[in-house]
Symmetry: D3
Subunit: 340 residues, 6 copies
């Protein structure tokens, strides 16, 4: 497997994210912070920060905004080899506006992503060599949900990467504003036969996937109904918009074993967006690097927890930092207060 060019290729839309600074509102103020984000880019970026080779397949407008996003992707250490540029008159970059929360004000999001260049991606534009170039492929339910075209393209890509020898990772990432539960369920059932590693929240399992029983049973069910090998479910406790607890449970079907650990407590939430993607990146790193579910759990919980403290969607923690966070999390007694 080592001879492949990439450890991980992801597929997804990359958007411009615009946020009022500090706790200002979208409806006021003179300035937006300007950032790049998108679930699958966030995952690729997190894995790249930890030291593996990653790339992202996406379609961007051929204009200054597209260039901004491309530059940011490279800044993150993710390859831009598989970016496709939309030169049509209709080319546009999807946007989302994000506003921070503070109790009792919830964070809020306004999407403006319809008709983005990504929704027009076609199989023909994607170079054939990509399917055999990576050890793992990852995408999420958001990419399926964008429109009918991305649903078809994504489903086909999953098959081709699988055939090309890649492990397939999939995050359900259900978004009620993009599609209905029925549409989501149908589309996801189509791709589950190809998925090796599945990320799905308890709520999504129960509501959208219509599972019931206790969480362990639910998680296990994906591996009995489909050839899924690893199922990951996060447990986030929202004490307030600025204070969370976090841990997760992973089921390893090969060993028929559940893994979890003590939650990270009292996380100072600076920016919650992308912490779920950071979790995926930590888990995938653990699997790609060590093929060890316990390590995957530890990396996932650490990368997700610390992401909450980083402004923007994209993670910003390298391996040294993550290792030190894991070590502190496991430590008993006082640890040094500063990294000098």
């Amino acid at each position: 497997m080592g001879e492949k060019n990439f450890d991980l290729i992801t597929l997804g839309e990359i958007m411009l994210r615009l946020s009022p600074p500090n706790y200002e509102r979208m409806t006021r103020g003179d300035v937006f912070d300007k950032r790049a984000g998108g679930s699958e880019l966030n995952v690729a970026s997190g894995v790249a920060l930890l030291g593996l080779r990653t790339g992202v397949i996406s379609k961007l407008p051929q204009n200054a905004l597209g260039t901004f996003i491309k530059n940011r992707i490279r800044f993150e250490g993710v390859s831009d080899d598989y970016l496709i540029y939309d030169e049509s008159d209709d080319a546009r970059l999807g946007i989302y506006y994000y506003e921070n929360g503070a109790a009792p004000r919830k964070p809020s999001i306004v999407y403006d992503r319809k008709n983005s260049s990504m929704t027009k991606i076609s199989l023909e534009e994607i170079p054939e060599d990509v399917y055999t170039s990576t050890r793992m492929f990852h995408t999420s339910g958001i990419t399926l949900a964008l429109n009918k075209n991305t649903c078809e393209v994504t489903t086909e890509l999953i098959k081709r990467f699988k055939k090309g020898g890649a492990l397939v990772s999939f995050d359900c990432n259900y978004r009620a504003n993009l599609w209905s539960e029925e549409e989501a369920r149908a589309a996801i059932k189509h791709i589950l036969p190809y998925v090796d590693i599945l990320f799905v929240s308890e709520e999504t399992s129960r509501r959208m996937m219509q599972k019931d029983g206790d969480l362990a049973d639910i998680m296990k069910s994906y591996t009995t109904e489909y050839p899924v090998k690893v199922v990951c479910t996060t447990q986030r406790e929202v004490i307030s918009p600025r204070k969370h607890n976090f841990t997760s449970t992973i089921y390893d079907a090969r060993k028929d074993k559940f893994y979890t650990e003590q939650p990270y407590k009292d996380i100072d939430v600076i920016d919650r967006i992308g912490s779920g993607d950071a979790y995926v990146s930590g888990v995938l790193y653990g699997l790609l690097k060590y093929d060890d579910v316990e390590k995957a759990l530890e990396y996932g919980n650490a990368t997700s927890s610390v992401k909450n403290t980083i402004p923007g969607d994209l993670p910003a923690s390298d391996l040294r930092e993550i290792d030190s966070i894991i070590k502190n999390h496991k430590a008993v007694g006082p640890t040094s207060e500063l990294n000098r």
Copy 2:
């Protein structure tokens, strides 16, 4: 009543508020955030955000600063029809400087409001039609306290609005740096015979108004001594400059009934200034829209709690947000974490 042009007209000074950003100090740094604020504008703005028609009577200097304030008032959805412009050489905009707190540092305020244009407002400048144009009139003890002139003008206005058919709302809002307890007590006793809705804190009742007994007795006493119909008292618990709990009690003399609800807990205080005014705006909205003290209480507690999370004096929450905060406050079990 529906044929009146305005639901609420308020009277008060509007100031320029200058604050160092983040947690910087007034004594340092190169920048001030520049905002508009003033207790009665804050109230009018809060009610306008919830969907009613409001205006503010005030006097501003006829210069660029006055224009800034006027523009901001309009931005807030409040009518500028009753703004009066001071073209004299002495025209000035009152200023206050505000610095955030963080335990154990308290927030602090420096006032520079003496001799502002507002202190020179005269009855002759106020158009006669205003007195019959609104369903409710609101002002506060700050306006009485500015100087002898505003005390007289305000007292006269209260009478004229009353005569014009408006309900009169009054917030004691005692400020020790503006006048003594004796002066305040005398002036307020003059206007209480005209007040329908009274806002007064327990501490002000006890110290400035020299009441004693338990809180319920105190609140009730205003309605027996004067024709006050509704008395509102807030309960704020300051855990730290950045963490408050908040609820309130309202006494409805018509039904001889007290209303309260569970406090909002662990409010993330971004900017505490104006949260009292936001409370008034929520209560007045409840009374104006529903003539229902229980709804008034719910709106008041919600608008006040969420205002603490908004930078600046002025509220920024529309009806949809307030309704959703009330719903969450009453909800049992987990609620969605983001507004998407």
Copy 3:
């Protein structure tokens, strides 16, 4: 005429404008300045600043971005009475990205305005009373160009306002990225029979409108072929992106007379966008207030010149400032250096 509620109503799309601060590029940097803009709003705002009553007809998304725009419109002193809110799932605010120029780098613009809420405006949504509420109606070729729907709605509105007793003002404002010269010519020929005041550049007259001959002949031809009464053509000399000269010529068909004046020289261009709209606002003010083409010319040249020094699309000069700029422009010898 004085009994109408508005002096001017305009119709057009209002967009979010995002610009990198200073001379930073769209492709880099962490921040966008966030402003509102749109040709016809700019015109209404300029006329309001000079003291007349104006409003704007537009359609905005019913979300936080739409609220931001509404608040900004009110901040500018323009009425929000005729704003229509789009509650559909497809609701979106058009965006444009603007980057400053500096020789030899030209300013540049990226548009993302397709499928905006404004393109879906319908006659049914516009209250009938508007057509008789104003002394003048103004729109531009941009509104015609947005899509087939706005072209039809705009054409119909022009007729209705005309019938309602308003003067009709129209700015050709040809944008090659919105439609072809052929499409533009056809649509504009449809509405010219209803236009009283026409703004058209020499280049647009020659290329899009296929006129030839000298400029005077061209300008005059609009008034002979159509019942146009006043034709305005600006002369901008771009010395560099940061230094322009500006004047204009107006032809008054009623007097069969051309008006012009010495150009404003060496204008310090801080932000060129909206200076054409500011010109329209000055001319319309002169016509509305004084019914005097010479005054219209002076106001138009002054409002346009000074707009170049104001960041953002929207003008920011009140009557006192414009009068003082006109006075200085005509002055011989040194004038005071500062406005104290």
Copy 4:
């Protein structure tokens, strides 16, 4: 003379200066740049930067704003030994708002300085030792003009410093918004018998001081009518708000000789405020350090010219920079483009 503690003590009001950044307007925007300024502080600061020991006599409010000003004064290298703090309830810091210009928009200023703590300064508060502690004393017509009290105190101080052995420098600095020409003329005639070095513009000489004849005659007249030894008049040519030329003429009565030099051409004006005060500081430095009018002229022209490129009132150029600017100004042929 060398045994005195200070080379220069100045007397004047120090204000908070608030300006919108870049070319934003006072009437808009969310931020003010926060700076300290005041004519006589500017002079003391300029002389301190060049290496001499200076202090300033002023009265500041005993609050956070006063502390900010005190800290800034010290930052500038000026002694705070003679600052007086106003602990009264009426204590306030004078403010002025300043907005940049760009052709054809002029810079503009709004003052809010009435009733500031400085206007209440009294002789009793000023320590007796100051009068003999300095080689030179400087103040300006602004200090005379603030109110009747400062006029009396200033006049008395001039006498006491004169008696204490200091040279007296005075800058007419006529401000029409502070007093009438008649009031100014009367007050200044009172103090001219004590002045050694006089700064007066040609326009002020002609209008306020009612002089006529050519400039040389006017300048000379001060030295024949009064015991003035040196008269300085600046020549500023305002090409645009962002481009000035500058030079000056100095008359040395002791030698009966006029000095001038080629103007600094095409000065890039970033912030024009304080460039007159910087001129005074350069001249006084030349006189204090070298007792040489020619050097005073060169330093004055250089310090003034370069001040125009510095944001804020206060100069920021040390001796090395000023010497290098003088050298470049005199140089023939190309000079190095950067200071490395």
Copy 5:
């Protein structure tokens, strides 16, 4: 003692501190906050803010960065009389980069201070008069640790100040990245015979100074082994990077008595750096002003606690604020929420 010019002189390196704003990372973003800091400057500044006369001995590059630091020192109210300027080609200002933390992300620091001008300070450059000019001298282990030269110079200075009649205060301030525990122990043992007031953490006592037993025994041991009179040990409890508790214990050998008080709880940590130095400044103020260990403890705990809420290394609390914080800390029952 009263006749000395200074109450406190400190010796130490002063650095440029560069930090990403808000919670941005060093590895990203376009801006650094630019501040001055250094343990011994922080101490001098804290004592100056409380009203005593302080100065700092340090060596700075003779360039714009050195000037920035000098100006900031003066801004803080600390004398620049004993700053030495390095005009050599190798002159440089030490730098450190600081990034805030948020649980589970720790704050982190990158140093770039090697070969700074301070490391080349020599005895010859320090004016002889300084040794007898102050009531107290303070330095820390950091200054000893910079390099061999500063270790020697510092040791000699301690002796000279002692001989000159000053009390000697020393803060161990062990930094593992500057020297080994062995080196530190040897150097500190050399200077302890001259120290009157010692600041040492429990961890440093145990590890670097190789003490054991309970804390009281350890603290006492310094006064029995050496002529140390006062030993101070802080107790900081790090609940999270943004929430600390803080108190301290002081042993007074003269009275053989330990002092402590209830900790400050739930301190909102905005910037933790310099809070240890602020503690030293409060203790030294208490000793210098009142020669009272109990007061020293109260001042030390208050100045340290509140420093955590101030951005940057340098404290910003004057005597009035500290006194009010002490009063609140001791108060029972609710206190006023704002400083108006």
Copy 6:
């Protein structure tokens, strides 16, 4: 040649650049803009922006600052394959401080680059494969000048790349603060036998290289004395710090022909740093892409001129922009004012 991985590899130090925003001074203000820069990175970045594959050899500290630089390099589209990380205790990133100029204030620079990690680069760290991986290698006199080690390493690298089949490009880039003219001359004479493309200013030719005669003779002399094929000399006319003219002359020895063109006039200088490097990048692009000296001249002049309008060292213009600037430069008559 087409089979090589890179079109251009450069070698040089990459520094952190810190600048006060706008026209603020290094000695004041609270903020530094934080950017990456370095002559040879600037060249690689310019060529990458135009569409070729480039990389840079440099040594960076293994810390957060090194990571920031690496990320920025990738953002620019330059490969980080040949970056070497310094894990030693002495690892440091060189810094320079840059302040803008405005007439008569010159831009100024303070360097703090001694002992940076780059100065310790060794041949052993550089992978052997690099020497045959590129069509061209570029470095400058700055890299030779850093210290004795970089002089030796650079000289050896030039030989190895030459041997590996790369063209060698060299920019004299003489910096008087890094070495003497004698040292520079000796070192450069050592490498000229390997140089194909030489960049040298007229002043450097005359002073450091001790050439005389007219410029043409001087340029030609390099090609007769050494096997240099192309000699490039820029002509910059500094009208003021904010206004330059620019062109260049290139001598093609193969054709024995000189090329030049009309200067770019009245360039608006936003940031002059890196415009020389941008020139090199344009020339090298012309040679690499077209092997055409005339095209090289056009690209060089355009990339350099437009770089002056871009904040920071690094260029930001892609091929489309540069082509459009060249087209405008050659155009006769008016061109469009905006890029829409």
